[in-house]
């Protein structure tokens, strides 16, 4: 059997803005679909995606990006490496980022969210993206890594650019390479003294000085924290506000039963993943659903399509906070499962708790979206009125 083909372009503006109808079409065509527009084989269904993510021998991370320049630039990072080299790089990256390392931060992050949401509720109307979705993770990550001064001011644009350049070589990618380069250059030259004393960032340099991690890796780790941890979390927090505003009856369920907070976040991630498409290199011929994908080709893992697969989730296009889809694909899965998911959960749970405690209803204006290669996020989200709890 040959692989079905579609003329959908995964990186066309209209697909990036609302990929789900296109994903549904691809999913019905086959578990794997060839897309000549992008020169990729797209994996579309839950089971094949999860299997691929758990099989790094077949689906290598040497080309997680969709242009050769970014894949070249990522060589030597945990993100772009395969077992067995990957294990050591991953351990170094997660040493300061695992839930174990972050245990002490929960109280502080909860307090920050409570205070920020409190201010916004008192204000009565605000832009949920600038004032909350961006402000909160930027503050958490800046404090965590110990960023000060001009770096703090650049975090948002550097973080956005680091994601954009993972796309194919289109105009967005070309425009963002110089900005991603600023981040790269800064991380290549950063020293312990540039980071606040007592911060996790300073701790990474201490670990390097002690010989606990290999020489010259501290800058790379900081780079990955910034490149991966900012834009995606911002998207997720914006999505929380947008979905709670759009589905007030679902927000009511969380307000009335706070034990639903983790389930609600899992559902936000399943329903609108910050990252819908991610790359893999097909290292050897692989048969999927009776069709062969040849070695040497590029795969596009459609995480957002797998999350809406009716073969796995009942009524997948409904947003239901009680669903608790803990096995969603948004953080990936397996050896490369999102290294920052523990921090993302801490931040998002804190925001949901604070909203559920302090707001009864969020009245939203029209959301504005701008197409972006990798991160799907809301650019502006006016909260016209907050009904306080």
């Amino acid at each position: 059997m040959t692989v079905p083909t579609s003329d959908i372009d995964l990186f066309a503006d209209e697909v990036l803005l609302d990929p789900y109808p296109y994903f549904a079409e691809l999913r019905e065509l086959g578990a794997v679909v060839h897309l000549p527009a992008n020169d990729v084989y797209a994996l579309t269904r839950y089971d094949v995606i999860r299997t691929a993510l758990g099989d790094p021998e077949t689906f290598s991370s040497r080309s997680i990006g969709f242009n050769p320049m970014v894949n070249e630039a990522l060589q030597g990072t945990s993100l772009a490496s395969d077992p067995p080299v990957h294990a050591q790089l991953r351990a170094t990256l997660t040493e300061n980022l695992s839930p174990r390392a972050l245990r002490g931060l929960k109280t502080q992050i909860d307090a920050k969210a409570e205070a920020l949401v409190g201010e916004l509720v008192a204000q009565g109307s605000f832009d949920a993206i600038d004032a909350l979705a961006r402000a909160f993770p930027l503050e958490v990550v800046a404090d965590l890594i110990g960023f000060t001064g001009h770096v703090r001011d650049n975090m948002l644009r550097w973080g956005q650019a680091a994601m954009q350049v993972i796309g194919p070589m289109n105009q967005r990618t070309a425009e963002n390479f110089p900005i991603a380069g600023e981040l790269y250059a800064w991380c290549a030259g950063v020293t312990a003294e540039d980071l606040a004393p007592g911060s996790v960032g300073r701790g990474i340099f201490d670990a390097e000085a002690r010989g606990d991690i290999p020489p010259n890796t501290a800058g790379h780790i900081i780079h990955q924290y910034l490149g991966a941890g900012v834009d995606s979390t911002i998207a997720a927090i914006g999505n929380i506000v947008a979905l709670f505003g759009r589905y007030p009856e679902q927000f009511d369920l969380v307000r009335k039963d706070r034990s639903l907070v983790p389930a609600a976040f899992a559902e936000v991630l399943r329903f609108w993943p910050p990252i819908n498409t991610w790359g893999r290199y097909v290292a050897k011929d692989v048969e999927i659903d009776g069709a062969t994908v040849p070695a040497g080709s590029q795969a596009a893992i459609l995480l957002g399509a797998g999350n809406r697969d009716p073969r796995h989730y009942e009524d997948p296009d409904a947003f239901l906070v009680e669903r608790n889809p803990v096995d969603h694909l948004t953080f990936g899965y397996g050896p490369h499962g999102c290294a920052g998911q523990g921090l993302a959960r801490l931040e998002a749970h804190a925001v949901i708790e604070a909203l559920a405690a302090q707001a009864q209803r969020l009245v939203l204006g029209e959301e504005l979206r701008v197409p972006s290669n990798i991160t799907r996020s809301i650019e502006k989200l006016p909260v016209l009125e907050v009904v306080p709890a």
Binding site: G54, A87, T94, S98, P99, R100, R103, P262, V326, D327, F331, G332, Y333, G334, P335, G337, C338, A339, Q341, G342
Partner: protein
């Protein structure tokens, strides 16, 4: 360190039905296994997974499997 546990049949004999394999090196302490199946998994003081039963009682096999499935870094494996 890898821990391998066997299942126990209804009559108490060890059967080779289901085994849970925990890769403690790979475990990062996300704790989703313990949230999903607290009867089977726990995190120790270093936030590393601990399997609570030497052999998993048959009535917990489904929960054990569900807990293994949600591990985001594939540190838990079910072998049948």
């Amino acid at each position: 360190m890898t821990v391998v546990l066997g299942g126990t049949g209804i009559d108490g004999r060890t059967v080779d039905s289901m085994r849970i394999v925990a890769d403690r090196e790979r475990c990062e302490g996300h704790g989703l296994c313990a949230d999903t199946a607290p009867e089977v998994y726990e995190l120790d003081d270093d936030a590393i997974v601990v399997l609570l039963h030497e052999s998993i009682p048959p009535e917990l096999e489904r929960k054990a499997e569900a807990g293994a499935r949600v591990c985001p870094v594939a540190a838990l494996r079910v072998e049948s």
